[in-house]
């Protein structure tokens, strides 16, 4: 094994920069002559703009310009086009009302940008924004998806009657109806999967710099954005400005957390790019946290009715799911895909369910648009399934652990084609499930519960299993569901004369340690120390092709591309080694010995080392006939299938009924992410994912006033994030027994696991704890207030 290669818990190469304050985030970059931007945002959930008066703002000290949607319209700047155009029922594609980066006529959520103020300093821009006078005509608003879908609801878009974005179906209805007709047991649940807000710690920021004469780098506009997807932003901005794609350069430097929310196109990117071209001055905008709450895309927000049919033995026969999903005021980049294609693709979860039918109505609401946030559709699907399983256990009297055991897809059934489309290649669900029960000492739980009860405390044990569609995505399938892009990724490897390697990938690291783990793959394959490898990402000016980092794809897609490009490098290097050693190419073996690569004539001690081959091919003094100088190869990996990460989550909670305060006693995640490249980094990803899942389950909730459409939870004082003292230590384990069969590394995505499973496992534990006390219908987030009230209500009911 390479000492720094695949499987080694190598410390991160990027740490020193961050630990010494030398990270470079967008807001840290200062360009010569830069001006500062502030946005005027709608204070109304729904309002017509009768007029905008910029006179006072323009007279405000330092203000250079004020722009509105009319100015962008005059310059024919294109709309914010979603990346996915989801196909609905009856061959109808989704309703896609135009969305303008600065409102044109109507604002449809609190926080929608309506004007840009540019000034010499940030304070002056903010002061100027206060002085822009907008003549508003408030309109009736609808923020709750259940309200918005009603016939008499206020309508957001003329193009979308009934506030319907798309009615989407998956699976086949008839077999499901048949399954229910012959079922011994039928259970149903009504579920709210509440709206949450990502809140990456770095607020979004954008800088745009433009020159009519195109600067030295030849780009008409260069954008620095706190984004996960610089190549997507390049595509969108070039389309909106009607520029050739290669005239736009997008740089994503260090980014302070992404979690999907920064993997989308935002109005500020196009507004600054356009305005920078008008003013020919660099423009900078840094979001405040307050505006982040009303402008960063939100997540989840489903209302679901779901039914499960079982036979007399508790075997699942059929699943029927009907979901209302809020897309918000407009269709965001991936906003319509998350609750449709992504969500329904994993509705079989780890279970053998012969018949599944799902219908989703993606619906407009006067709220911030929703989009992918860590998990993205899979937490919602896992939650629906696991709630049904627990309900079925309650109703049939079959133990909830035993019921799962009876219904898991066995490892021997792999590959397994689900009735909703996807085929899982590998997975040993029961093995990981049993392991989680051991790690959580489920056998000892009754004793611990009894012990806690003596102290007046209530314990519950929770369990959940998820299957995640990771490694996003095969371009072919994405195309079938209306994607306006491919989803492959690239690796370009350039070898210098000393054997050092430069790798360029179309992904982006914002905490995932690519600068460490990607070189680990290459170091293993070629045989060099990590110190000989540099990684470049996040700059379309240096990496021409790419898709970005989201959907637990980076190692799966870019890691595989690196492996493939390295194979091409080795083919050429072997040819040259044969020439150097005056041997037949077929006799040359490439080996990595103690981490160092060499080419040896098989069965002899005659060899050349990797640096020797690199020097020879780069000096090109003596190459075989027809061989071009240098080692420079690239590869594009487009997967044939998603990877099917999966895992068991178990937890134990303890509730103090006197206060409603819940303590998480233990939390266990057992993950199958295929081959592990760096176990230390994987542990970190798993911890973070669990923390965000617990966040939704225990603390976080975006609350809008149902009448006015105002966001109540608009700061960290109102929107509760997990903190060090409200989380436990987690136990995380990986199981590498089921490597992925359709990428060269055997890897499956690892970024989202706990965020998917934790809401279900925590809910399982809370219900396990409280149901014996007559508490029913308790839903996330399990805040002390809510838990205490539920306990009091149950007591009152019992007394009555």
């Amino acid at each position: 094994m390479h000492p720094e290669g695949i499987g080694a818990p190598v410390l991160r190469r990027e740490d020193r920069r961050f630990l010494t304050g030398r990270g470079q985030y967008v807001s840290d970059i200062v360009l010569e002559g830069e001006l500062h931007c502030a946005f005027v945002r709608s204070p109304h959930a729904h309002a017509r703009i009768r007029g905008i008066d910029s006179t006072a703002a323009l007279a405000s000290p330092g203000v250079v310009a004020v722009y509105t949607g009319a100015d962008m319209a005059a310059d024919r700047v294109g709309p914010m086009v979603p990346l996915w155009q989801i196909p609905g029922v009856d061959g109808k594609v989704m309703n896609e009302p135009p969305r303008w980066a600065l409102s044109r006529g109507t604002a449809r959520h609190v926080g929608e940008a309506v004007a840009l103020v540019v000034a010499t300093t940030r304070h002056q821009a903010l002061d100027g924004a206060e002085k822009v006078e907008v003549d508003w005509e408030p309109l009736p608003a609808t923020v709750d998806v259940r309200d918005a879908a009603k016939e008499d609801a206020p309508q957001l878009h003329a193009e979308a009657p009934g506030n319907l974005c798309v009615r989407f179906q998956r699976g086949t209805k008839a077999p499901v109806d048949e399954a229910f007709a012959r079922a011994a047991h039928k259970v149903s649940v009504e579920i709210i999967n509440h709206r949450i807000i990502c809140a990456a710690l770095e607020p979004r920021a954008v800088i745009a710099s433009a020159s009519a004469t195109r600067g030295l780098d030849g780009h008409a506009v260069t954008i620095w954005s706190a984004t996960q997807v610089p190549h997507h932003i390049r595509k969108f901005v070039s389309e909106q400005l009607d520029l050739p794609e290669n005239a736009v350069r997008v740089i994503a430097p260090d980014v302070g957390g992404g979690f999907g929310t920064k993997g989308k196109h935002y109005p500020e990117e196009i507004v600054l790019a356009w305005a920078a071209r008008k003013l020919e001055r660099p423009l900078k905008w840094v979001s405040t946290r307050s505006e982040a709450f009303v402008s960063d895309y939100h997540a989840r927000d489903h209302a679901t009715h779901a039914e499960l049919a079982l036979d007399a033995d508790g075997k699942f026969l059929g699943l029927r799911v009907s979901t209302l999903a809020a897309v918000g005021a407009y269709v965001s980049t991936v906003g319509a895909a998350v609750p449709t294609t992504v969500y329904t693709a994993v509705l079989s979860g780890p279970y053998r369910i012969p018949a599944i039918f799902a219908e989703v109505r993606a619906t407009f609401t006067n709220t911030v648009p929703t989009d992918a946030y860590r998990g993205a559709g899979r937490p919602e699907a896992c939650f629906v399934l696991e709630r049904l399983v627990e309900e079925a256990a309650r109703q049939t009297g079959i133990d909830r652990i035993e019921l799962r055991r009876r219904n898991f897809i066995p490892v021997g059934a792999m590959p397994y084609a689900t009735p909703v489309g996807p085929t899982y290649d590998t997975g040993d669900f029961i093995r990981l499930f049993e392991r989680a029960l051991v790690l959580g000492d489920y056998a000892g739980f009754p004793a611990r519960r009894a012990e806690a009860a003596k102290k007046g405390l209530i314990r519950g044990f929770g369990i959940a299993y998820f299957v995640e569609s990771s490694g996003v995505a095969p371009s072919k399938y994405a195309g079938m569901f209306g994607a306006r892009a491919g989803f492959f990724d690239s690796a370009d490897i350039r070898v210098a004369a000393d054997g050092s390697l430069l790798v360029m990938c179309g992904t982006h690291s914002h905490g995932q340690a690519h600068a460490t783990t990607f070189p680990q793959v290459l170091a293993s394959r070629i045989g060099v120390p990590l110190s000989m490898i540099e990684l470049v990402e996040g700059d379309t000016g240096r990496v021409p092709y790419g898709t970005g980092t989201f959907g637990s794809r980076s190692m799966v897609i870019a890691g595989s591309a690196i492996y493939m490009a390295a194979e091409k490098i080795l083919v050429k290097a072997r040819k040259l080694a044969a020439h150097m050693l005056e041997a037949a190419e077929a006799d040359i073996e490439h080996k990595v010995v103690n981490g160092l690569g060499e080419f040896r004539v098989a069965g002899t001690d005659r060899k050349v080392t990797w640096p020797e081959v690199s020097r020879a091919v780069t000096y090109a003094h003596n190459l075989p006939p027809g061989m071009e100088p240098v080692l420079h190869e690239n590869a594009f990996f487009d997967p044939t299938n998603l990877t099917w990460s999966n895992g068991a989550q178990a937890c134990e909670v303890e509730i103090d009924p006197a206060t409603g305060v819940t303590r998480i006693i233990s939390y266990i995640g057992v993950d199958d992410i295929g081959t592990v490249i760096n176990p230390m980094v994987v542990d970190g990803q798993v911890h973070g994912a669990i923390a965000q899942g617990i966040g939704q389950a225990m603390f976080e909730e975006a609350v809008y006033d149902r009448e006015s459409g105002q966001l109540y939870t608009g700061s960290f004082m109102d929107y509760t994030l997990p903190r060090a003292d409200t989380l436990p230590s987690f136990i995380s384990e990986t199981d590498e027994s089921q490597p992925c069969t359709h990428n060269p590394l055997g890897v499956k995505g690892c970024g989202e696991s706990g965020t998917i499973g934790a809401p279900a496992s925590i809910t399982s534990a809370m219900r396990d704890a409280l149901e014996p006390f007559g508490v029913t219908g308790l839903e996330m987030p399990f805040t002390p207030n809510k838990v205490w009230r539920a306990i009091q209500q149950a007591k009152t009911k019992a007394a009555a």
């Binding site: 410390l11 991160r12 990027e14 740490d15 020193r16 920069r17 961050f18 630990l19 010494t20 304050g21 030398r22 990270g23 470079q24 985030y25 807001s27 840290d28 200062v30 304070h123 809140a199 990456a200 710690l201 770095e202 607020p203 260090d254 980014v255 302070g256 957390g257 992404g258 979690f259 405040t288 946290r289 307050s290 914002h510 905490g511 995932q512 340690a513 230390m680 980094v681 542990d683 970190g684 911890h687 973070g688 994912a689 669990i690 923390a691 965000q692 700061s715 960290f716 004082m717 994030l721 997990p722 903190r723 060090a724 003292d725 409200t726 989380l727 230590s729 987690f730």
Partner: protein
């Protein structure tokens, strides 16, 4: 615009400048001194990303005016390492994978150093309570707690 004069020592270097009296300490550090390792993550003094040391005490630099730091000694994340040698807390964060995106990290390290100053041998619970003023969205805090434990043992 009226300005006021301020003198303070930042990372061992005496600095003197004229500033808008509304300037927050974090703005002075980032915008006037170019020390961008100190980050801004919120506008309600909740996240702790801007934590620095003022006369040896951890302070959220978004919540005091720069003028309140007149005459003080300020240490930022840039002032912790000695040449190439990381401060033991910085080293512990690296050893324990106590950081991912790096945005909360400077504030977290500054708070953690303050924590050990007052309680050199904290329990896990004391570490967790001591860091509750700093939000991390990436790590789930586990490896940060581990890092503080390592630094306490060092």
């Amino acid at each position: 615009m009226t300005t006021e004069s301020i003198s303070l020592t930042v990372n061992g270097q005496p600095r003197r400048m004229d500033i808008d009296p509304r300037t927050l300490l974090v703005q002075l550090i980032r915008d006037h001194l170019g020390l961008t390792g100190t980050h801004v993550g919120c506008d309600t003094a909740q996240c702790g990303a801007c934590t620095v040391h003022v006369d040896g005490r951890a302070v959220k630099s978004c919540s005091i005016l720069a003028l309140q730091a007149d005459g003080t000694e300020v240490t930022t994340i840039e002032g912790l390492a000695t040449g190439d040698e990381l401060h033991p807390m910085q080293q512990a964060f690296r050893d324990c994978h106590g950081l991912q995106c790096g945005y909360c990290t400077p504030g977290m390290v500054m708070s953690a150093i303050e924590l050990l100053k007052h309680n050199p041998q904290p329990s896990e619970q004391q570490i967790r309570e001591g860091l509750e003023g700093n939000i991390c969205r990436c790590t789930g805090y586990q490896n940060i707690v581990k890092a503080v434990q390592q630094a306490a043992g060092a």
